[in-house]
Structure formats: structure tokens, C-alpha cells
């Protein structure tokens, strides 16, 4: 009798400890965005009858796909402790070069290749400057952002480059089992990126660099190479996004990568549990964050909250999440 009682008390005690551990450990913060997402979705279901209409849902996911892809690139950079502000403007520039090639009668394949290449080149420049010249990531990518968007405005004279190519549209936008390809691409990329950061040499090195560069170096990690590659990867994701977005919009323009987009990317990553201080986060989380941000924008739209109030809410969300993040660090 007494023994039974004792063990049940023990069980309850250990359960409580485990629960507390669960909440206080960083896992709680990892699921926080999902919790908030669930709450938001419930609120939306109650207040906006049309929100869960399947067309709207698909629409939200397609919108989220480009943001999500860019957020994956950003996540890789942020895990290493850096930041890449140039993703949207590089994306716009890539799209413009690719679209111009297509407009001038080039092949779809080469156009796509151009978009990817432009992104990778811009990323390599960023990476070289940060990893080997030891320049500050924020400023390097700020300069790249200005240069890329400047170049985008310059070559287009601020006019958008139309893309009229049914084959291209089909290739990129077609549905598979009723799901548009951009969503599938985003999901596949998120899975691959998660596999890479969790299970490969590069991924492990990436977290080690983000947690503590000096300790990583002392453990034999080629830290400069890792940092360089993160920017190349984010550049490549900018290029990939360019392909999808130019197909979706049917045009490419400098405005595709306006300053607001970079904020959305940072918000997605931060909301998705990626730490601005490096070493924490996952691409899958960032994609969740991107969906969350898109849902908020979309629902605010449907609730007829102005775009500007939306900005205010996003700003508060970013600061709140980073404050959480910094508390978690302390």
C-alpha cells in the first residue's frame, strides 16, 4: 500500500519536473509560434467565414511559398550568426536578368540558370566579404541590397519586364494533385534544407559556428568556409525564388524586392524560432514562420485592417519575438 503510494507520488513529481523542463527548456519557444498560429487560425475561423475556403488556403500557401524559400536562405545565414538583407533585391535583380533573356527569345532553361547564377554570384560576394574580409554582415548585405536594387532600377528604368511564356508558366505553376508546384517546391526545399542542417557535415558545422565561432575553430571546423557557404546558399535561394515569383507575377521588376520584403523574411525566421544570435533554428521553423506572416497579412487584408496597421503589428511581432529570444539566451 505504502509502496504504491510512494511510487505514484514519485511519478507525479517526475511528471511535473518533466513538464517544467519541457516549458523552460528552449523547446517551449520552438513550439510557441505553432501555438500562436493555432490561436490565430481559430480566431480567423470564428471571425472570417471565408478564410478556410480551400481556394483562399491554397492562395495563402502559394503566397507563402516565395517568402518561405527566401526565409530558408535567411535561416541558414542566421544559424551561422549572420544576416542577409540583400535577399529580396538580389532576387529581383536575378528575376529581371532572367526575364530579359526570356523576353529576348532565350530558352526557359537558360533563363532559369541565369536567375540562379545571379543569385549565387551576389551571395558569393557577400560571403567572401563577410568570411574572408571580416566585414560586418549587416553592412555588407546592406550595400549589396543597395547595389542590387540600384542595378535593378537602372537596367529596367523602373519599368517591369513582362514574362509571357505559357510553357514557363506551366512548368513552374502547374498543379500536381491539385497542389500548385510552388507549394511543393517550398515543402521539398524545406525538407532538404532541414536534412542538410541536421544530418550533414556542413549542417553540424553551421550550428557550431553559430553557437561559438572560437570553440568551433578550436574543434577543427573550417569556420570561414562555412560562413562563406551560408551566403552562397542564401543567394541561391534568392535565385530560386526569382524563378517562381517571376512566373507567378508574369513579370519581373525592381519592386519585387522592395524594402518591406526583407522585413517579412526576418520576421518569418524570427517567428519561426530562428535566433538572431545564431546557433538556433531550423528551415522548417522558418517556413512555418513564413506561413504565419502570410496568414497574418492575408487575414488583416480580409478583416480590412489597413496595410499600414499591418506594418505596426509586424514590427511589434518582431521585437516581441526577439525579446523572447534574448530572454532565452540569458
Amino acid at each position: 500500500m505504502t509502496t504504491v503510494q510512494g511510487s505514484s507520488v514519485d511519478n507525479a513529481g517526475s511528471l511535473l519536473t518533466r513538464l517544467r523542463q519541457f516549458v523552460t527548456a528552449h523547446r517551449f519557444f520552438d513550439i510557441l509560434p505553432i501555438l500562436i498560429l493555432v490561436v490565430v487560425l481559430v480566431v480567423l475561423a470564428l471571425f472570417i467565414p471565408n478564410f478556410f475556403n480551400s481556394r483562399n488556403i491554397v492562395n495563402v500557401f502559394v503566397q507563402a511559398s516565395t517568402l518561405g524559400l527566401m526565409a530558408i536562405g535567411m535561416t541558414v545565414v542566421m544559424i551561422s550568426g549572420g544576416i542577409d538583407l540583400s535577399i529580396p533585391s538580389v532576387m529581383a535583380l536575378s528575376a529581371i536578368f532572367g526575364a530579359m533573356h526570356l523576353r529576348d527569345g532565350g530558352s526557359i532553361f537558360v533563363s532559369c540558370l541565369i536567375m540562379l547564377t545571379v543569385g549565387i554570384i551576389a551571395g558569393s560576394i557577400n560571403g567572401f566579404a563577410v568570411a574572408y574580409l571580416k566585414m560586418i554582415p549587416f553592412v555588407v548585405t546592406l550595400a549589396m541590397m543597395t547595389i542590387a536594387s540600384g542595378a535593378a532600377i537602372w537596367v529596367t528604368n523602373s519599368v517591369s519586364v513582362p514574362v509571357f511564356d505559357e510553357v514557363f508558366f506551366d512548368l513552374i505553376l502547374a498543379r500536381i494533385a491539385d497542389i500548385p508546384r510552388p507549394i511543393i517546391i517550398m515543402v521539398i526545399m524545406a525538407l532538404i534544407a532541414t536534412l542538410v542542417v541536421r544530418r550533414t557535415l556542413f549542417g553540424r558545422w553551421l550550428y557550431a559556428v553559430g553557437v561559438n565561432v572560437r570553440a568551433a575553430r578550436a574543434s577543427g571546423v573550417p569556420t570561414n568556409l562555412v560562413i562563406f557557404l551560408t551566403y552562397v546558399i542564401s543567394g541561391a535561394f534568392a535565385g530560386l525564388t526569382a524563378i517562381i515569383l517571376s512566373a507567378r507575377l508574369g513579370s519581373a521588376s525592381a519592386n519585387m524586392g522592395n524594402d518591406g520584403v526583407v522585413l517579412d523574411i526576418v520576421s518569418s525566421a524570427v517567428v519561426g524560432g530562428v535566433s538572431i544570435y545564431g546557433g538556433i533554428g531550423s528551415p522548417l521553423g522558418a517556413v512555418m514562420g513564413a506561413i504565419f506572416i502570410t496568414v497574418i497579412s492575408n487575414s488583416m487584408n480580409m478583416m480590412q485592417i489597413s496595410f499600414f496597421t499591418g506594418l505596426i503589428i509586424k514590427g511589434v511581432v518582431i521585437i516581441a519575438f526577439v525579446a523572447f529570444d534574448s530572454l532565452r539566451k540569458q
Binding site: 571580416k134 544570435y277 526577439v322
Partner: protein, 338 residues
């Protein structure tokens, strides 16, 4: 032979050091000379006055940002602050009939408040300044767009006329901007607060060990940055004659370029308002002005801007890594007799 190569290398290093330390003065001279030769109307007094007129708001905004950067932090909410305060000011004057002086006082209070919020977030919540001010940048711009509904609102005629107020041939805003720069320069070089900013930029922990109240100093630098961003915004507003969403858009990035070109290190602890920040403003404005005279594609400006930031930043990082030659100061050798 060996000596010869050493002397040679010494000269090359001196040349490199000279270029790194004086690079932007050299650029300034080269650019001015180039434009003077190629664009006949560039090198005229009238053009220089109009150039300073155009640069006046940035002089003020960059001075404020410079104070923050000297501590090794960054404030990218300055553009939004300028936008919000000018929007509020215009609405107060146009819709509520508040007189310009009261309006100005209210605006300065708002600007300081935004700076204080930045400072508190950074000092109390210990959030990275970049992200904190990125957040406030979005929030503040959102508020501004909300209250103006993203429309352009013209200033009352009598206020608009101030935009071209001048004493003799010189616009009043040039004088205001220069006066503010001089004051900030004095604050930076001649007050305890100014020196503590530099101390923080050297190393925050060392500064704390020396008994400096680092949190207060950081906080105050953000308040001043918000205040000066507001004044810069007001100068722009009066020049433009209307509050519009384009005010302050992308301005934070231009201001950061000015800082970098002005030789104020983004690592903190190094730089000056005069001549540093002023030189930064002038170089950017002269390049823009000259490109204009040369009939360059206006769409290329942003690209050129970006390229200049990149070069400036590269020079900055090289300069930061430049080995500083130290030496021991010994007693001068007593001259040997015979």
C-alpha cells in the same frame, strides 16, 4: 640591397596607409576636379549653395546617427522617425490649425520619445540594436502611413515659403544645419558625454569598469538620434512643401553610407562630426549633383550609391585591421660628445 627593398616596401605601406586614412579626402578632391572639368556649370557658387541646400537635412540626421554609431551601435529607424514626425506636424498644422512653433515642440518631443523607446528596448531588453531599430523602423513607418493614409498633404502656404527663406544668397536651412553640426561636434569633443560615447565604442566592458554608466550613455545617444532625425525631417518637409510617404524612405541607408564615407567606424570608437560626417554628406551629394550635370541616367544613382558604400565599408574594415605601429617613448638620447 636588403635596405633598398625595405625602403621600397616602407614607401608602399605608407602610400597604402595614406590612401586608407585619407582615401575619402582624395576621392572628394578627385570628384570635384573631375566635375569641374567636365561639367561647366558645376563649379559655380550658385551650384554649391544649392548643393548645400539639398544636403542640409542629411547633415542633421547623420550627426545624430553618428553619435549612436560612435558607441558601436546602429539606429536604422531615423528615416521612419523623420517621416512620422513630419506627417504628424503637417496634420497638426493643416487639420488642427496648431501654430508652427508649438508644432515643432511637439515634434521634437515625439522624436525624442521614439529615440527613448529604441534606447529602452536595447538597454533593458538587451536586444541587438539592429533588430530593435529594424522593428521600430517598421512600426513608426506604419503609424505614419496610417495617419496620412499614405497620401501627400501640402503644408500651409506661409510655412511652405520658409523652405526658400534665405539670408542674402544663402538658404537659412544651410545655416541651421551647420549650426547643429557645430553644436553636436562640440558635444562630441568637449563634453563628458561625448567622450563617454567614444569610450563605449572602444569597449563597453572596459568603459563599465572605468565607472561609466554605459546604459545611460547608450540610451541618451538614441534619444539624440531620434531628436536630430526629427529636425532633419522638418528641414526636408519645409523644402519639399508637403508631407509625403517618400520622405525618409531609404534614408536610413543613405545615412549609414554617409557615416561610413565620413570615416566614422561602424565598429565604434572612431570618427568625428566635423569634418567626418560633413565630408560624408558632401561626397554623396556632390556625386549625385555632378551625375545630374553630366546627364547621367538618374536610375543609376542608387547603384552608384551602393557601390560607394561597398568601397567605403571595405576601406573601413581594412582600416580597422591596419596594424597600428606602437612605439616606446624613451628619453631623447643625450648627445655624445666627440
Amino acid at each position: 640591397m636588403v635596405q633598398g627593398t625595405q625602403i621600397n616596401r616602407f614607401n608602399l605601406t605608407t602610400l597604402r596607409d595614406f590612401l586608407l586614412r585619407q582615401g575619402f579626402n582624395v576621392v572628394l578632391v578627385v570628384v570635384v576636379v573631375f566635375y569641374a572639368l567636365t561639367a561647366p556649370r558645376f563649379f559655380t557658387v550658385a551650384n554649391f549653395i544649392s548643393l548645400l541646400h539639398a544636403a542640409a537635412p542629411m547633415m542633421v540626421i547623420a550627426s545624430g546617427l553618428a553619435l549612436v554609431v560612435m558607441t558601436g551601435k546602429l539606429d536604422i529607424s531615423v528615416g521612419s522617425t523623420a517621416f512620422l514626425t513630419t506627417s504628424v506636424g503637417t496634420i497638426l498644422m493643416v487639420r488642427n490649425g496648431v501654430d508652427p512653433i508649438t508644432t515643432l515642440v511637439i515634434l521634437l518631443a515625439i522624436g525624442a520619445l521614439i529615440g527613448a523607446v529604441n534606447g529602452l528596448i536595447i538597454v533593458v531588453l538587451k536586444i541587438s540594436p539592429l533588430i530593435a531599430t529594424l522593428g521600430t523602423m517598421i512600426i513608426v513607418r506604419g503609424i505614419g502611413l496610417e495617419i496620412t493614409k499614405s497620401t501627400t498633404i501640402s503644408l500651409p502656404e506661409e510655412v511652405r515659403r520658409l523652405g526658400n527663406a534665405s539670408i542674402g544668397p544663402i538658404f537659412v536651412d544651410i545655416l541651421i544645419a551647420l549650426a547643429i553640426m557645430v553644436i553636436i561636434h562640440l558635444v562630441h569633443t568637449r563634453t563628458s558625454f561625448g567622450r563617454w560615447l567614444i569610450a563605449l565604442g572602444n569597449d563597453q566592458d572596459t568603459a563599465a569598469r572605468l565607472g561609466i554608466r554605459v546604459n545611460t550613455v547608450s540610451f541618451m545617444s538614441f534619444v539624440l538620434s531620434g531628436l536630430l532625425a526629427t529636425i532633419g525631417g522638418v528641414l526636408t518637409l519645409v523644402q519639399v512643401g508637403a508631407a509625403s510617404p517618400s520622405i525618409g524612405s531609404g534614408l536610413e541607408f543613405t545615412a549609414v553610407s554617409v557615416i561610413v564615407i565620413g570615416g566614422i567606424s561602424l565598429f565604434g570608437g572612431e570618427g568625428s562630426i566635423l569634418p567626418g560626417a560633413l565630408r560624408g554628406v558632401l561626397i554623396l551629394e556632390i556625386i549625385r549633383n555632378g551625375l545630374n550635370f553630366l546627364g547621367a541616367d538618374p536610375y543609376a544613382y542608387r547603384f552608384v550609391n551602393g557601390a560607394i558604400i561597398f568601397i567605403a565599408m571595405y576601406a573601413d574594415s581594412l582600416r580597422a585591421r591596419l596594424p597600428v605601429t606602437t612605439r616606446t617613448f624613451e628619453a631623447p638620447d643625450t648627445p655624445k660628445s666627440g
